[in-house]
Every structure is written in C-alpha cells, then in structure tokens.
C-alpha cells in the first residue's frame, strides 16, 4: 500500500467533505460536538446520579435536620416559608423540629427520602463515634451473587450455606469470609464467577460499609455515562463517513478514481482515515475531559473500527440515502447495544467482559485490567471490523460499486467475490468466527437475565442458528454466483471444508476462557457446546471422541446445508432448518451428557 496515495486521498476526503457541507450543517455539527464535549465534564463535576435536587426542602441552617438534608443530593435547600409550601414551590418544610410534607405523591416520596436521609445521617454520626463496637455491635457482610434458580437448588442440596442468599454473619466484622454457600457449584456460577463482593463495589459506592439502609447493588452510573460519551460522537461520525461512501457511488463519481493508479485498498484506507482520526481525536478529548487514560483510548479504538466497518459495508449495500438511513440506524443500535449493555454489568457480572466499553468503565473506576481481559474484550471486535472491511473491499470495484442491486443480492456478491477455489469454503467459515463470536456474546448478553430454564434452550437454539448460517451462507452465495458447480460431489466437498474451517476457528475462540466466561453457565453453553471440551473424561478414547464430535457435527450440518444450497434458495432454507435442528439436538445431547 502506497502511503502517499493514501494520504492524498485522505486529504482530498477532508477537503471535499469540508466543502461539501453547507454552513448550516457545519454549525449544527459544531454545536452538537460542543454539546457532547460539554456533557462529560458536566457529568463529572456533577458527581452524582439521577434525581439530584428533585425534592425542594425549606430548612434553616440552624435546624438539626439541616446536615441530613444537605448531605443528600436528592434535596435542594430553600428558605423555609409556609407560603412557598402552599404554593407548591416546596415539597417539604422544616421549621424547628416540625416537619411538614405536601400531601402529593411527590411530597410523600420526598418524605420517604427525608426519612432515609435522616437515617443515613444518624449512621454517619454513629460511624464517627470512637467506640465502633458500641455503635455497631453486629456486623453483617454482603456478597452479591448471580441470580440463578438452578444454582440455588444445587447449592441448597449440596451445601447448607444457601449460596447467594446472604449467608450467615461471622460476627468478626470481616464481611465476606462468613460466606460459605455458593462456591464450587456445577457450572461455576457462584462467586468464583468473578462476582464482586461488597468490597469490590467499594470503589463504586465510595464507602467501606454501612447500615442495611445503605445497601444497594453496585451500579457505576457516572462511569457508564462518561463511557457513553465515547460512543455517542461515533454515531455522528459514521453518518458523514457512510454518506461520503454513498456519494462516491452516486452518479458513478468514484469510477475515475478507480481507473487512476491507486488500488481500491488505498482508496478505502484514504477515505476512512480522516473519520477514524476524527474519532480518535474526539475519544482523546473525551478521555482527557473525564479522566480516562490510554486504556480507555485503546478500548475505544476497536469500537471505532467496528462502527466504521459496519457503516462502510452498509454504505456499499444501500442503494439510496433512505436505505442508508435504515442501515445506519441498525448499525448504531446493534453496535451500541453490543458495547453498552454488557458494560452496565461492570463489576457485577462477567458478561460485562465482552464489551470494550467495560474496560473504559473499569479504568474510570480505578480498577486494574489484565492484558488477557483487554484482549478478550477487544480482539473479536477488531478482527470482526477488519473482516467487514475486507468483505466491503471486495465490493469496492466497478461492477459492484455502482450496481443498484438489492441489499441481499449485494450481500451475496460480497460473500461470493473472494471465492476463487473450493478451499475458500474453509477460509470463509474461519473468517466468520469473529462474527459468530460477537453474535453469540450478544445472545448471551440479551438472554442471561432470563431464568436459566428459559435462557438455556433459547441460547442453544440461537447458537445453532448463528453457526449454521455462518457456515452455509457463503456456500449459498458461491452457488448463486456460479463459483461452485451445482453437483453433489462439490456440495459434499465444500460442505466438509466449511465445517472444517469452522471447527478450526471455533478452537481459536477458546480464548474466551481467559476471563473465566466459562464459569458462567451460559458462557459454557455458548462456547463449550461446539468445542465439546466440557467434562472430558480421562479416557483417551472418549477424549478423542469428544474432540472429534464437534468436527463431525460441523461437517455434517454444513454438508446438509451445502447440498440444499446447491439446489436453490428454497431447498437451501429447508436444508438450513434441518442443519439447525441437527445442531440443536447435538447441543442438547451435550448438555444432558455433561449434566
């Protein structure tokens, strides 16, 4: 790749992008960016969660309740005036020791909040007492565990500790050591799954203990909002980027650049570079504003690449700005969901590890992130982004770039373009692994909140569907675009190759073990079923069978789909359903055998 050509195209992209915008659009974009830029420091300075100052309390500084009210951010303090109470400008009026609450829903909520604030204030006073044993004669440690019905039953039958139920107090004041209930259950869903203790959430709560009224699940609200500040601008940048790609396709404008002595990869890189750089600059500015460091920046780069690659492919598939809008909304929702939803469970649940944004949250919370965790969160995203760029690059040529074919037809073109020999069936399945990984992680993220009895079958079916589609869609594209002969022999050959490629890639995905996602029941379900590694016997024969079983599964089901695909669309869909059923039956069998 010629760097000079890339930079020339990048410079042209900046120039044409700048001159292509009208003044109003520039002003709107600037205001939006400024508003987003202002968001981070404001949230940071605010230093509190939602509901700040929603209750208006009239209280004198000399009142004994003043300190209690002042320490609770949900209250805003005003002059105590009965007239203001009557006019509705105050929710609570405190005069001396007399407390008057407006008889409205909000007033009653304010009263409850005041009661809690007073209790907290009293707790703080007790904590400041020199004789803590006298102040708090009983200490109870709390440990948050995963809500898991099956786990509880197992725990109760094998261990009287009552995993996750709160355990018994040791009376020592050391908290977590009093818990005996949850470790070591089958499936590893107990505390060994990385669930935080109350100590783990200390950084979040800013306290080392408290009374029962202080107990609430750890929720890194501020860090999440700040992390979200990294993501929001990306949604705007990809709009401009995708529009630029679509503009290139309109009226065949890009044709003459294609016939100049630069490669399509130089064109793609040159056109992408300014937007990627802009994303980096915004991310760096955001990081500087909110106190993030290189870790946050490193975690955001894969997300930026994923956004750009999805927008790139979307812009190549869309036939009009109307279609592009639909595609970009889909991209924004899916990518934001993938990176943001798991991050909500930072420090609560290992599922959070699948999102690069979790790394940002953890850095903002001052937690240490291991290289393995960093790689686990970012590698699939980076590989997925580059594979998408690769697929899109296959379409960046005269005969596809300007064609006005439907999105599914272009998708088939993108999948078929790299196929120049049968062996590509294995390569294509291998390259599909990052997307399978991302899709399965997303499925876990969406389903894990459901009871295991419901989520596990759903997940097994979802995984079978994702994997069978990934193994066979490129085969179907190969037949439709005449890359493969429609013979039974070819169908069996490319089916077996596809299964083999997928098997090899799936083994590589065993990286998921790095952060202990396997300790989560659903994690095991997602990544162990296909690999067939769980509960492997010490018998070499059984070990061999278990290792080869997934290979047999993938080749058989891919061959079924391949034979269907070689006969046309309807037979393909029928064969795909059959392959999914076989795969699901296999997964269920593995679950039953493994217990």
């Amino acid at each position: 790749m010629n760097l000079r050509s890339v930079l020339r195209i990048a410079r042209w992209e900046i120039t044409s992008g700048a001159t292509g915008l009208d003044r109003r659009a520039v002003i709107l974009a600037a205001v939006t960016l400024l508003a987003l830029g202002a968001l981070a420091p404001v949230v940071l300075m605010a230093g509190s969660g939602p509901g700040e100052g929603i209750y208006r309390v009239g209280v004198e500084p000399s009142s004994p309740y003043y300190e209690a009210v002042r320490h609770d951010p949900s209250f805003s303090i005003h002059e105590p005036d009965l007239a203001n109470l009557r006019s509705g400008e105050l929710d609570v009026l405190i005069e001396g020791e007399e407390v008057t609450i407006v008889d409205t829903r909000k007033g009653r909520a304010a009263g409850s909040a005041l009661k809690a604030a007073i209790e907290s204030h009293n707790d703080r006073l007790m904590q400041s007492e020199p004789d803590q044993v006298a102040a708090f004669p009983v200490t109870v440690g709390i440990e948050y565990v995963e809500r898991n019905v099956i786990l509880l039953r197992r725990s109760e039958s094998s261990d009287d500790g009552g995993g996750g139920s709160g355990g018994s107090g040791s009376g020592s004041g050391d908290g977590p050591e009093g818990f005996e209930g949850s470790p070591g259950q089958s499936g590893g869903s107990g505390d060994s799954g990385g669930l935080p203790t109350i100590g783990g959430s200390d950084a979040l709560l800013g306290e080392t203990g408290g009374t029962p009224s202080d107990i609430s699940p750890p929720f890194p609200f501020i860090s999440l909002v700040l992390a979200f500040a990294f993501i929001v601008p990306m949604n705007f940048v990809i709009q401009a980027y995708a529009s630029s790609i679509l503009h290139e396709r309109g009226k065949r404008r890009g044709e003459l650049v294609l016939v100049s002595p630069v490669s399509r990869w130089e064109i793609i890189t040159g056109k992408t570079l300014p937007y990627f750089t802009l994303m980096l600059l915004i991310a760096a500015g955001t990081a500087a504003a909110i106190g993030g460091g290189l870790l946050s920046l490193g975690a955001v780069i894969p997300v930026a690449l994923l956004f750009l690659s999805c927008a790139f492919v979307g812009a190549l598939l869309a036939r009009s700005h109307k279609e592009l809008t639909f595609v970009l909304v889909t991209v924004s929702v899916v990518v934001t969901t993938y990176v943001f939803v798991p991050a909500i469970f930072t420090d609560i649940h290992p599922i959070a590890a699948i999102s690069p944004l979790t790394l940002v949250v953890r850095e903002l919370e001052g937690a240490i992130v291991s290289p393995g965790t960093f790689l686990f969160s970012t590698t699939p995203v980076v590989i997925g982004a580059f594979v998408l760029f690769g697929l899109g690059g296959g379409l960046y040529r005269e005969e596809d770039l300007f064609a006005q074919r439907r999105v599914p037809a272009k998708l088939l073109d993108a999948l078929a373009n790299p196929i120049d020999r049968r062996a590509m069936a294995a390569v294509m399945s291998l390259l599909a692994i990052p997307f399978v990984f991302l899709a399965e992680l997303l499925a876990i993220a969406v389903l894990f909140v459901l009871p295991l009895e419901l989520s596990l079958p759903l997940l097994i079916g979802s995984i079978a569907t994702i994997e069978e589609v990934a193994k066979s869609l490129h085969l179907y594209a190969g037949y439709e675009r005449a890359r493969y002969d429609r013979t039974v022999r070819t169908a069996i050959t490319v089916g077996c190759l596809s299964g083999l490629g997928f098997f090899v890639g799936e083994k590589a995905a065993a990286v998921s073990q790095v952060v202990g996602l396997f300790q989560l029941d659903l994690g095991r379900a997602a990544f162990e079923l296909g690999a067939g590694l769980g509960g492997v016997s010490s018998s070499p024969l059984l070990l061999g069978v278990v290792l080869l079983a997934p290979l047999a599964l993938h080749t058989v089901t891919a061959t079924i789909s391949s034979i269907g695909a070689s006969r046309g669309r309807t037979p393909y869909l029928g064969a795909l359903v059959l392959a999914i059923l076989v795969h699901t039956a296999y997964n269920l069998g593995v679950v039953i055998i493994l217990g």
Partner: protein, 287 residues
C-alpha cells in the same frame, strides 16, 4: 499499442463480451461501434482495467490491463461525466494530477493549456454549477492530466449540443495526431470522420473490423445506380425514370444490353459509396 485477445466478460449467465480480439497500432484512432448492449463499453472498461475479464487478456501500452502501472499511461473517459460537484474544475484536475504523481507546477501548466484548448473559461466555479458540456470538457481534461499515450473514450460527445459536440470531436481528432485513441460512438458520422479503423460489435462479438474501405468492401462496397427510361427486371421507379442497383461494371454492361434490346435508353450511371451507417445497418440486419 493495444492488443485484446479473446476478451470475454460474463455477468452470471449473461455474456456481455464474447471473445473480442483486435489490435490498435500506435498513433491510430480506432472506433468501436455497435447498438446498445453490444458490449462496447464493457470492452473499453476491460481495456482500462476497470473490469476484470472472465477470460482472455488485454495489453495496453505494454502492460497487462490489470496492472496498476498501465493506468499511468492511460486516459479514460467514461460515457457519463462523473465529476465531484463540490470541486472546481481546477481543484478537480489538480486532485487527479496528484493521484498520477504529476508535479504541481507541471500539472498547473498542463491543466491551463488543456482548458485553453477546450475553450473552458469557468475554472473556479463548483462543477455542480456548470453545464453538461463544461463537465464533459473537464472530464476530457481529466483524462489528459497525466499526458497519456493511450486514450480510451466512451461516447465522448454523447448528449451534447451540436456546437460542443463538434468542438469535442475536433479536439479528439487533434489528440489522435500524436496518441493512440480508442473510442466508441453512436454517431457514425463522427466515427467515419475520425477513425483510421473500425470494429463493429453485435451481441458481444466483433463481427467485422478493418479500415472503412475494407469494411465497405466486405459488406457491399461501391454500388452502381443505372438509370433508364424503361422498366427492366429489378428496376424501381424514380420519378419519370427507373433505377437499377448493381455491384460492378460487368453488371452495368449486361444491364445496358438488356435495356438496348428492350428498345429503351440508358440515361445515366452513377457510383454510390455506402456510408458507415449503411454498412452498419446492413451488418446489424444480417444482410
């Protein structure tokens, strides 16, 4: 300078170009004609390296058409004038000169010189605000920023007003004096006016090629129109007399005898050289 060997392009089940073979010598103007969908544009795009042939090969200026270095010595003009509307003529041409590694000072001189020759005054207005003819001239100027030896033009004067058309055709003729030019056109008069050699394409195949004389010869050649005052076999009324069309002088002499024997008089004999359009129609209709 250009050699196409069994070029073939398939789009799924559709064969757009089926085994095109031809060669264009240095300094020659070569015309590619044929009806819509005959495969002219596809052939030109394969020569320009925009499309990859399904089979066969092409060399342009000594390079395989798929090689990037070939493009450095090629000026390609597509059928439309796909310009970036937000750019001015000057910035647009400079951008492409940059892509071809043309030094800025050389590029500026070349751009000004070409735009002067094309009589394009508006150089600093966004191209989106210029006429179709101006865009076409800018597109032609763009094909010359790298001073190529080979020009491939697809319908260079398509859809333009007569004045602009004539100006562009004249300019292409000038370019052909020291460069190799391959171009397609629907206006066969322009092809006849400019081209040294011509190929006629039908349904993806080159059905005939050669100089205009060779093609005329192969598809009818010179005709003799024999006029008489009486009707003989094959004669058609033309006002107050009759016309017979024959292919050679022997046939003229035979016809003279027939007219004399019938008591009539041979009034006139005229030669008629068919136009390229007539030859093309004859080829297209399979006659």
């Amino acid at each position: 300078m250009i050699e196409a060997a069994e070029l073939r392009k398939e789009y799924g089940d559709v064969v757009a170009v089926d085994g095109s073979t031809f060669a264009v010598d240095r300094g020659e103007i070569f015309g590619l004609i044929g009806p819509n969908g005959a495969g002219k544009t596809t052939t030109l795009k394969m020569l320009a390296g925009l499309l990859e042939p399904t089979a066969g090969s092409a060399t342009v200026a000594g390079y395989d058409s798929r090689e990037r270095d070939m493009r450095r010595n090629l000026g390609f003009l597509p059928e439309d004038s796909p310009v970036y509307e937000e750019m001015t003529a000057r910035s647009y041409l400079r951008f492409f000169a940059d892509l071809y590694d043309v030094p800025r000072s050389v590029a500026d001189d070349r751009i000004d010189s070409t735009l002067d020759r094309l009589d394009l005054e508006v150089r600093d207005r966004p191209l989106g605000n210029t006429s179709k003819g101006m865009k076409r001239k800018v597109a032609i100027a763009r094909s010359l920023v790298n001073d190529p030896d080979v020009l491939i033009y697809d319908e260079p004067a398509s859809g333009l007003d007569p004045l602009t058309t004539n100006a562009i055709i004249e300019f292409v003729g000038e370019l052909g004096q020291d460069r190799t030019v391959v171009f397609s056109a629907h206006n066969l008069f322009h092809v006849e006016e400019l081209c040294d050699r011509v190929a006629i394409m039908l349904d993806g195949e080159i059905v005939t090629r050669g100089t205009l004389d060779e093609i005329r010869e192969a598809h009818g050649g010179v005709e003799y129109h024999v006029y008489s005052d009486i009707k003989v076999d094959g004669g058609e009324p033309m006002g107050d007399r009759y016309r017979c069309v024959v292919d050679d002088m022997d046939a003229v002499e035979t016809l003279r005898s027939v007219i004399d024997d019938a008591g009539g008089e041979l009034l006139d004999v005229r030669t008629h050289e068919p136009s390229l359009e007539e030859v093309f129609l004859a080829v297209a209709e399979g006659t």
